[in-house]
């Protein structure tokens, strides 16, 4: 029989969808800022494999020569990004839904099984509640990353007034590198997230908008077993 199974709380759905455009704007405006000092690259043993970013990339997205504009957008939307994140984290703590989110001890082992299952190497996925082991790790990591972006952002935004934060981030240079690396991390998270959402299907996707999933509940047994029978 068809039944409604509650999945995502209203607040989780709101903060998720509010975060999406805000983070997009933060990444976009961050790119406008990064362009003016685009010094990062991947160099191993003197050979540069990739430069962040190729000129064609800047040209395609019109990222060049827009530093002041990027800063103006970045320093407005940072407030919304922080606020939305704080609301979500507070809600998750107070409501107790952190229990479904934070990785458990077994999650780190199980996450591999989930991965093998997703890659069609293993038939069975480990049993799960709201989130599977890999999701617990990924969705907790993304919150930690968001917090990391705020902290490293503050470290490079006000390195004098918030000198302690800059020091905690390992200095101005490392803070900027981390801030950049976290952004690259979001992009990879997003790509995998989209693939997973598509693969998981409509029922799953709808639950992040409507809050519920439709499940097929088996009709309850009419004659439940009694302790007497069990004890035979």
């Amino acid at each position: 029989m068809k039944a409604i199974k509650e999945k995502h709380s209203l607040l989780m759905r709101w903060t998720h969808w509010v975060n999406f455009p805000i983070l997009t704007i933060m990444i976009w405006s961050g790119m406008l800022i990064y362009w003016s000092n685009d010094v990062y690259n991947i160099t191993i043993f003197g050979h540069t494999y990739f430069k962040f970013f190729p000129q064609g990339f800047y040209d395609y997205f019109h990222f060049s020569k827009r530093l002041s504009e990027g800063m103006a957008f970045h320093f407005l939307f940072m407030w919304f990004f922080a606020l939305n994140g704080i609301v979500y984290v507070l809600y998750t703590i107070i409501s107790g839904s952190w229990r479904e989110l934070l990785p458990e001890r077994k999650s780190f082992k199980e996450a591999w099984l989930v991965l093998l299952h997703d890659l069609h190497i293993r038939k069975m996925a480990p049993p799960q509640n709201k989130y599977n082991a890999a999701q617990r790790i990924a969705y907790t990591a993304i919150i930690v990353m968001g917090f990391g972006s705020l902290i490293t952002g503050l470290a490079i935004y006000k390195p004098v007034q918030f000198a302690t934060i800059t020091w905690l981030c390992g200095g101005y240079h490392l803070a900027r590198i981390l801030h950049f690396a976290l952004t690259i991390g979001y992009v990879f998270f997003f790509l995998i997230h989209i693939v997973q959402v598509v693969l998981a299907g409509w029922n799953n996707f709808r639950s992040v908008i409507s809050g519920f999933e439709i499940v097929n509940e088996e009709p309850k047994a009419l004659t439940p077993s009694t302790p007497a029978e069990d004890g035979k």
């Binding site: 068809k2 455009p21 003016s36 000092n37 800063m71 103006a72 320093f75 006000k158 004098v160 101005y172």
Partner: protein, 259 residues
């Protein structure tokens, strides 16, 4: 009390699903459109009316100014910029721009013009400034573009300068304005940043007189601000309760630009 309404029938599962989907997706769609419209409004917002600041979209300039007010709460004279040993200072000090220090300048004729808010004008020579106790600083100079460099500067502390030349009263106004002799480059500073203990009227770089392209004979070194506020070759200093002209604030940059 009479109840004329029909007793409500309990909705079937399918009806419940339909109803909840309708509401959720309806709200989702409406909010999505609202967000898109809001973004379009912001992205196509007209530029601010050009004044002391210019070049930014009007709503974004308002946001920058509001953010400045929030961030000013964290400013303190006790928050000092980290300093380094002289050995770490760059030998080749990065040179980014020549606005305000282009040719046609006779260094021998230079005098610092200080215009008090009462209108009284002081003309101060470089010898008068060099005669006062020198302060040196080796710190990480930060550019708004994102690069930074450890640099070694020496000169007269701004607060010492103010006290020595009888300008203590000027520190009670809100802003200090500095301009190059050719008036091509200007900087406006909130007074707390201007008289921060590490703000220096510098006449030495790496222990030698400042070269022409770095703002000889006297330039501003203000470590609590981005490089754009570190005006080269000071021609005049003014005081006011309104924002003085500022070169980069007219090109869409934040007026405060504090670190």
């Amino acid at each position: 009390m009479e109840n004329n309404k029909k007793p409500k029938k309990e909705l079937t599962i399918d009806q419940k699903i339909k109803r909840r989907n309708f509401i959720s997706f309806g709200v989702f769609g409406v909010m999505g459109i609202a967000a898109w419209k809001g973004w379009q409004w912001l992205y196509t917002a007209p530029k601010e009316v050009a004044g002391v600041t210019a070049g930014a979209k009007a709503p974004l300039r308002r946001a920058l100014n509001k953010t400045e007010l929030a961030m000013r709460n964290f400013f303190s004279n006790n928050h000092l910029v980290k300093t380094y040993p002289k050995s770490m200072a760059a030998k080749n000090v990065r040179h980014n721009s020549d606005i305000g220090v282009k040719g046609g300048f006779v260094i021998e004729d230079w005098k610092l013009q200080v215009i008090k808010h009462t209108g009284e004008v002081l003309n101060i020579t470089i010898e008068q400034i060099k005669a006062l106790p020198k302060t040196e600083i080796v710190y990480d100079f930060k550019c708004v573009e994102g690069w930074d460099q450890i640099q070694y500067w020496g000169g007269l502390k701004m607060i010492d300068f103010m006290e020595h030349f009888g300008l203590a009263e000027e520190t009670t106004v809100d802003y200090m304005g500095l301009m190059t002799p050719d008036k091509a480059y200007q900087v406006g500073l909130d007074m707390p940043s201007a008289i921060h203990p590490q703000t220096i009227l510098a006449y030495e770089m790496n222990g030698k007189p400042i070269p022409m392209n770095h703002g000889a004979p006297l330039r501003l070194i203000i470590p609590v601000k981005y490089g754009i506020k570190n005006l080269k070759r000071i021609g005049s200093i003014t005081f006011s309760n309104t924002r003085p002209p500022d070169y980069w604030a007219r090109s869409g940059y934040d007026y405060y630009s504090g670190l």
